[in-house]
Every structure is written in structure tokens, then in C-alpha cells.
Amino acid sequence: MAHNTEHKLEIFRGIVKFKSNVQKIWGVLIFLSIVTAIEVALGIVKPEILMNYFLSMKLINWIFVILTLVKAYYITWDFMHMRDEKFGLQVSVVITLIFLIAYAAFIFLVEGNYIYDIMYEGFVSWNF
């Protein structure tokens, strides 16, 4: 079977357009490496200004989570060729995962926070 769809060669919403598929792959690798290097550098240095809280999570952690989602987007979209798949397949995989993961993460973290408060304020001391 011939590969009957052309690879889309633009990323960053068309700001960067590559000349060939191979070039696009190396380009995405360089981008992912830069993002990983930033994350690791921040994790090692831990600058004081990023230790402030925003919506009960440290800024530095917000940066990590957002950068991880960015990396996940590029790995899925370009390495797994999701960019070239039909819209229906993209949506059925991504929307399902995003909804279920977001919901489950929300309820588990709220629950964990609640248990922490109970242990902190209540009469249960060191629950092992």
C-alpha cells in the first residue's frame, strides 16, 4: 500500500515550515531537547522567584506541567503522526484521554488534599 497522505510539514501553526519530513523530525527533536534542558535546568537551579504559589501549586511546578504537556503534544502530533491522521481519529483519542485524565487527576488530588487536612487538624497523628 502506498502511503497515500502527504506529511504536513509545518509546526508552530505555520511559523516554521520544513523542507522535508526528515528535516521536520530533527527540528522537533531539537525543540524537545531545548524544552527538556529548560526543565532540567529549572529543576536543578530552583530559582526563588518561581517558588511562589499560583492556584495552590508552585509556579515552577506549573512550568513543569505546561512544558510536559507541550512535549506530549509534539510527540503525539509529529512523532506518532497524529497531525496527518483524520480529524475523527485525532479527536476520538485525544478528547477521551484529556477528559478522563483531567477528571481523575482532579478528584484524586482533591481527595489527597482533604486527607492531608484531616490528618493535620484532626486527632490522627502518624498514620502509617
Partner: protein
């Protein structure tokens, strides 16, 4: 009659006909598997988040635990090796994409070359993870566990740097031997005795006034609280175990669940990488044999590539939530 179905009507070649959503049966199935496996890992990571939020003020700090680098013995290299492992896995993902791309252009030699690099990258990752496990299990500084189940670690008073219990524990000759089946009851035995007993560590601690105890609790700045000498002595008197390294019951880094989740999540992920390497080897051999040349398309390489990228994706999330956050 039109109601009967003959074998000529049944379509063969499920893999070469474009199907709904323009993807073949095999590719759709691989995506479905990926969705379900992603949700499995979600379950693990979310329960890790729950445990961590429950103990948010006393969880071990990852930078202090994962400080080893191969070849650099005694050097404090926080997170460097894990970052290298991440890069190796992402790089192996890239070589996999290049193999898939070469497959689309029916260039067998390039497919072979890139798949070979992918397999090597995956094998290096699994080996690295095993090395991290070894260091984690072996432990570095050692700790004591109190009667209440708390882990107390030791620091030097002036520099606040960690002190290993090897450095200050005294030697007390003991009449206790490991009970093996050839030196006691033949039908009973016990695991090897600890390297140090609680008395040896406690006496060493009392003899050296420059050592202080560091507890699990974290202060507002995110540093572990160091007690003064009196409080330290009080805590050490409550010690019941010497903890060195880590197993599924207790670990020297802090909360028991920390080691449990480390082994479970990285173990599950490592198992997926390992199975991915095995599957890649099988497909690699098939490419070498020319199976896909004869078939006319390299879609199997693409499907296996999807699995490999999924493994990389999970690692990106595990790396963030376990090591960075």
C-alpha cells in the same frame, strides 16, 4: 441468491484497504491499546499524586535521592542521569520516526539502520533504569526508623551536609548470628542480619556531638527540618530499626510509599520499554528478512513505532511528576 455469501464476497487484505478514519485495522487497534494503556499509567500516576498530597509536608525530595552518575563515584549530581535517560529515550523515538519515514519510502537499508539505533537506545534506557534501581536499593547514607515509623537521617551540625551512618557507627561485638538452617533449627532460617545494630548507631551518635537529626517534615522553604542536639537525642532514643537502602517495606529516604511507588511506576514503565525492545527486535529481524518488502508496505514498522512513542510519552510524564515536581 443475493442472501448467500460466497468466499469471493468476503474482502481479504484488511491491512491494505483504507478503513473508516482512513486508518487500517491494525493501526486503529494500536491506538485503542495505547488509549487503554495510557489510562493504566494515569491510574498509577494519580494514585502517586494522592499519596504525595496526603503526605505533602514530609515527602522525600527527589533531588536528594537521585544523585548518582555512572563513573562519577561520590559526586553529587542531582537529576543529571535521569535527564540523560530522558534524552536517550527521546532520541530513540526520533530514530524510530526516521525508520518509519524510511519505510514509507520503501528504503529497506535505512529502515534497518534506524531500527537498530532505536533498539540500542531502548536497551541503554532499560540498563540505566536497572542501574538507578540498584543505587536506590543499595542506599547511600542510611537512616534510623523510630517507633512511630518516622525515618530520621543525620547531618553534620556545622555544614548541614548529610552524614552516613557508616562514618559514626561504632563496632560492638555481638553474639547474634544469622539463623541459617545449618546452625539452628533446620526448618527455620532468617534473612541476613543488618550491617549495623540500633545500639551501634545510637552509641556512635551519642559519642559525636556534631551530628544532628534531620526529620521528614519540610519547612516553608521546602527544606527538611534539622533538629537541635536535645531534640535529636530524644528522637534517636526512639529508634527501633536501622534502615539502609530500600525495599518494599521501608526505605532510608523517607515515607514508605515513596519506594513502593518508585518501584511500581518505574518498574511498570521499564517493563513496557523492555517489551518494546523485544517487539522492535522481532520487527527488525522481519525487516532484515525482507518480509515487508514482499508485503509491499512497512506499516508494521509504523504500528510498532506508535507503541514505542507511547512508551516515550509515558516516560515524559513519569519524569515530570516523579522527579521534577
Amino acid at each position: 441468491m443475493s442472501s448467500t455469501v460466497s468466499s469471493a464476497d468476503i474482502q481479504p487484505e484488511l491491512t491494505t484497504e483504507p478503513r473508516p478514519l482512513n486508518a487500517s485495522y491494525g493501526k486503529l487497534m494500536m491506538w485503542f491499546f495505547i488509549v487503554s494503556d495510557a489510562l493504566t499509567f494515569t491510574g498509577f500516576l494519580i494514585s502517586y499524586g494522592f499519596a504525595r498530597f496526603k503526605h505533602i509536608d514530609s515527602w522525600p525530595i527527589a533531588d536528594e535521592v537521585f544523585t548518582h552518575f555512572p563513573g562519577l563515584h561520590g559526586v553529587d549530581a542531582p537529576m543529571y542521569y535521569v535527564a540523560l535517560m530522558t534524552f536517550i529515550l527521546i532520541f530513540s523515538s526520533v530514530t524510530m520516526v526516521l525508520a518509519v519515514d524510511a519505510g514509507h519510502n520503501n528504503q529497506k537499508d535505512r529502515v534497518v539502520f534506524y531500527m537498530f539505533l532505536t533498539i540500542i537506545g531502548g536497551a541503554v534506557f532499560v540498563g540505566s533504569q536497572a542501574w538507578e534501581w540498584k543505587n536506590f536499593i543499595k542506599g547511600e547514607y542510611g537512616a534510623l526508623e523510630t517507633k512511630g515509623g518516622m525515618i530520621i537521617q543525620f547531618v553534620d551540625a556545622s555544614s548541614n551536609k548529610r552524614v552516613s551512618i557508616d562514618e559514626f557507627a561504632v563496632y560492638k561485638p555481638e553474639y547474634r548470628e544469622q539463623h541459617k538452617s545449618n546452625n539452628g533449627l533446620w526448618f527455620r532460617s532468617e534473612p541476613a542480619l543488618d550491617q549495623y545494630s540500633v545500639e551501634e548507631v545510637t552509641e556512635g551518635f551519642m559519642a559525636d556531638p556534631s551530628i544532628l537529626v534531620r526529620v521528614e517534615k519540610v519547612d516553608d522553604k521546602g527544606h527538611k527540618i534539622i533538629l537541635n542536639r536535645e531534640e535529636s537525642i530524644e528522637k534517636v532514643m526512639q529508634a527501633v530499626y536501622v534502615v539502609q537502602g530500600a525495599n518494599l517495606i521501608r526505605n532510608e529516604y523517607g515515607n514508605r510509599l515513596f519506594a513502593d511507588f518508585f518501584f511500581f511506576i518505574t518498574g511498570f514503565h521499564g517493563f513496557h520499554v523492555f517489551s518494546g525492545v523485544i517487539i522492535n527486535i522481532i520487527i527488525f529481524i522481519n525487516v532484515l528478512l525482507g518480509t515487508y518488502e514482499r508485503r509491499g508496505h512497512y506499516e508494521m514498522v509504523e504500528k510498532v513505532g506508535l507503541y514505542w512513542h507511547f512508551v516515550d510519552l509515558v516516560w515524559v510524564f513519569v519524569f515530570t511528576f516523579f522527579y521534577l515536581v
